[in-house]
Point group: C2
Chain length 300, copies 2
Amino acid sequence: MAVVTDNLLAQGLKSIQADIDAAFDSLLPVPEDPRARLFEAMRYATIGGGKRVRPLLVAAVADMYGVDRNAAVRVGAAIESVHVYSLIHDDLPCMDNDALRHGKPTLHLAFDEATAVLAGDALQCFAFELLADVATSGDPFVRVELVTTLATASGHNGMAGGQMMDIAAETASFDLATVTRLQQLKTGALLGAAVELGAILGKVAPEGRRHLRAYARDIGLAFQIVDDLLDHEGDAALAGKALRKDAEAGKETFVSLLGADRAREQARMLIDQAIAHLAAHGPEADLLRALARFIVERDR
Amino acid sequence: MAVVTDNLLAQGLKSIQADIDAAFDSLLPVPEDPRARLFEAMRYATIGGGKRVRPLLVAAVADMYGVDRNAAVRVGAAIESVHVYSLIHDDLPCMDNDALRHGKPTLHLAFDEATAVLAGDALQCFAFELLADVATSGDPFVRVELVTTLATASGHNGMAGGQMMDIAAETASFDLATVTRLQQLKTGALLGAAVELGAILGKVAPEGRRHLRAYARDIGLAFQIVDDLLDHEGDAALAGKALRKDAEAGKETFVSLLGADRAREQARMLIDQAIAHLAAHGPEADLLRALARFIVERDR
């Protein structure tokens, strides 16, 4: 059973990674004019990097409701655009000043800072362009809901708000409730949006999505706790990025507040809870279950 | 007649400035949590600054087709969010490194660079959140078209693409055709979008918008030529921003390529042409006519 589930996840990841790479490759052909450098930067950041967890969540949920794969991949590319833009801006010298991302030089080092700012800006915009134009059997309400869901998750009441809290965390001493809220905004909002986008494509009404949102909230928090554990204990070469930066910056994390053992226990509990939210589903939710388990078991 | 037109424009500007300030004030209340600094930065950049030319274009066109004022103001706030975000990022040290904007310290100086990056990011996102949620008598197609139009104008095939060309202009020597294309993307795309958004709200079909797009294209180019003239001859204190930076950066402009006299003549010709595109309209287009004339006659 464990092997079957692992194969399911490995296959799901491999397949979405190929589809997302192919989508960016075909959607962002480099023009023969002075904008070329911007497109090259967008391609550098989007093609061939990252686990593609968010697109996989979109596709896994969309598949549960029989959504056309092309639509799911397009929406997956949109949410990945937002994720990638946030990493590009996060890595800038005035933010985290990181040199390495997915084992490659960060965009502002591979290109330059101005191009990195612009490429991030263009990728955020691109996400909404993709969503407003996704094929949804002519139903414009679906597209409007996709845009609203992603915009809410990305902006000042979502990811960008969480980023601001994260900057404030360097000078404030946050308690567990505040760190939880910070992470729910900074990473949880977008993971939750991924699941919602899949369900919106599947034309699931808001009340029918509640258990999926609960699943996303739990895996999102577990994801961040494991990130903190990996940051605390992990291997920078394997991670493909710098580690232990939070401790150096004096930021409270789940590990600093709970200790590594209780943090690990908490992550496992959240994953059990996430899987319990899927109880009403049969084998069609196995990929979501496998993904939840992968989150606590991953080593990078 | 000139006085009537001037009053119309003065009244239109005053009224949209008040409405846009009020919209941002009510849409961005500062939360009592560590996100407060982000919201304060967004308010600093959006409230009480700028001529609001883009929202006025939206409102002027929307008004020609009897659109509800609240919807026009909301869409005006959306396009202004994109314009303001682009100014914030443009002013960053890694881009134009400007210290003054609308006579106030630029956002990264008034706050800090990280907050300026984030506030710009959040404002771009906010624009799409506003558009996807605008009241359009329940017609979701209108909202989808608003999002598509603004996303296309802002992204890599619009404003962001133009910004990249503008950076390339520092090291390349562009000819008139390339400078024209650069400016059509960098500022023209968003001005064109403003007019389109107003017409979309008015449920004007694409073919019925063609003359408005032509109007927008002409005033957009004239706007940029006058910007170059003011940059060449203007008063920094009056402009509220640094001037003559293009010449210092070795960039070709309409003035460097055409000379000041021919550039001025070209701007006047474009404005006449823009007004000619409105020939099918009666007095309901007088505000657009007055705005076109204002563009060549302004001193900042």
